[in-house]
Symmetry: C2
Subunit: 220 residues, 2 copies
DNA sequence: TTGTGATGACTGACTGACCAGTCACCGAAT
DNA sequence: ATTCGGTGACTGGTCAGTCAGTCATCACAA
């Protein structure tokens, strides 16, 4: 956690430090990030960073937590009305993609933490990311079943897992060099992976998810 | 690439070096891996490692390539008979899971490379991983369509992408601390994520994938 | 208004630890 | 005696974290 000083400096400087730290950690990974370079990018002295945070690890930890909170807010807002599962899936994917475009550094940070025990981030924190989404997806699917708009012979947990898995892949594909190339290759996208192109694929994916969730009706 | 010496040492030692290097890189990440510690784990002197490889980067690069090749062989074997898409999906998931259990270090390595530009691995290499699977999936889906066992109103590329995405998530869930916790949470698995438990979920996922691929037939 | 002292953010040269890569030497095998 | 793999102390560079000192600001007294 930051030292008291960090809350007393100019907000603009505070934002700059967090933003640059997120970028650098995302870009290089924890171990390869140099505190002197970070200080330079922030436009403050190295010593100042150590006035704000206990250590490199402390800073990393806080930047990750901050990123989690931002992404949660970006996707779910503050206590907005609950929706049915089809709307919820669309909301998660759409807002998630926008967040990944605006703040790729936080998504990359998540990937870095997920990739290995490299990060000094504790397991509980690691779970907080998913907790909220997992519960919301499951509840909403169950409600959909009760209302008859979702197939009843469906494994709720697995369905929620698959939806979130695809979300993670799509978001990663906007951010990680490797996943971006992978997406281009599979989807045979020419040139840059534009937000528009990705969103078109997301639209189709959402349709497929809908196909899985919707009750089967006799056809023609 | 390794120096000539590396091909002349005892095969047992060669294997040990590659295995321990893969483990350590997977565990710590590239930057945080210490060559002295690696040497110790391999039971050779640090200087010896530098008799085998040009540099740390050279070793990392080679270990990754080696891992790719191993996983390709583990999943696809050597020119085995082509199967239909349902069998292919099952083969990829089943053998992939076995490989991930036997060699979690290589999967973790893949995740580390995918996570960020952290690794010094070039983009082309990064693509080689997916190339083969992508092509095979797409071709097999197309063949399925021609044979009438796969829905014709399906985006082939997207279907292949989704199948492979789910595969990546499952394999990662056996290997990465974070993804493992995530899977436990979503699927409400108690205790350790056993291979058996994971495989049961994979079976159901394969069923769902089948559901997406199979032509719709009028029901009751 | 000016002088004075206290507070606390800011600074960057410095230290000590760590680590990639080297090299002069060793010893076994031929 | 030559070749070649093995060895680990050593070097030069890097980097997290420190600290002695600076400076801007503010409160208050003269």
């Amino acid at each position: 956690m930051p030292k008291a000083t960090f809350s007393k400096i100019a907000p603009e400087k505070r934002r700059r430090v967090l933003r640059q730290a997120a970028r650098l950690f995302a870009e290089r990974g924890y171990a390869a990030t140099d505190m002197a370079e970070l200080a330079e990018r922030c436009g403050v002295a190295k010593g100042s960073i150590y006035n704000y945070f206990e250590s490199k690890e402390d800073l990393y930890y806080y930047v990750c937590l901050d990123g989690l909170e931002r992404s949660r807010r970006a996707v779910y807002g503050e206590g907005e009305p609950t929706r049915d599962i089809y709307q919820l899936v669309q909301q998660i994917f759409e807002r998630g993609m926008v967040f990944a475009e605006d703040h790729p550094e936080y998504v990359a940070l998540y990937l870095g933490v997920a990739a290995g025990p490299a990060g000094p981030l504790a397991d509980e924190i690691s779970l907080q990311v998913e907790q909220f989404t997992a519960e919301l997806l499951k509840q909403t699917i169950r409600r959909g079943m009760a209302e008859g708009i979702v197939r009843r012979d469906l494994d709720v947990n697995l369905a929620a897992f698959l939806i979130n898995s695809l979300y993670i892949i799509f978001v990663s594909s906007l951010v990680s060099r490797h996943f971006k190339l992978r997406m281009k290759q599979y989807l045979e996208i020419e040139g840059r992976v534009t937000a528009a192109a990705a969103r078109e694929q997301v639209r189709r994916t959402i349709d497929m998810i809908g196909d899985i969730l919707r009750p089967r009706v006799p056809q023609e």
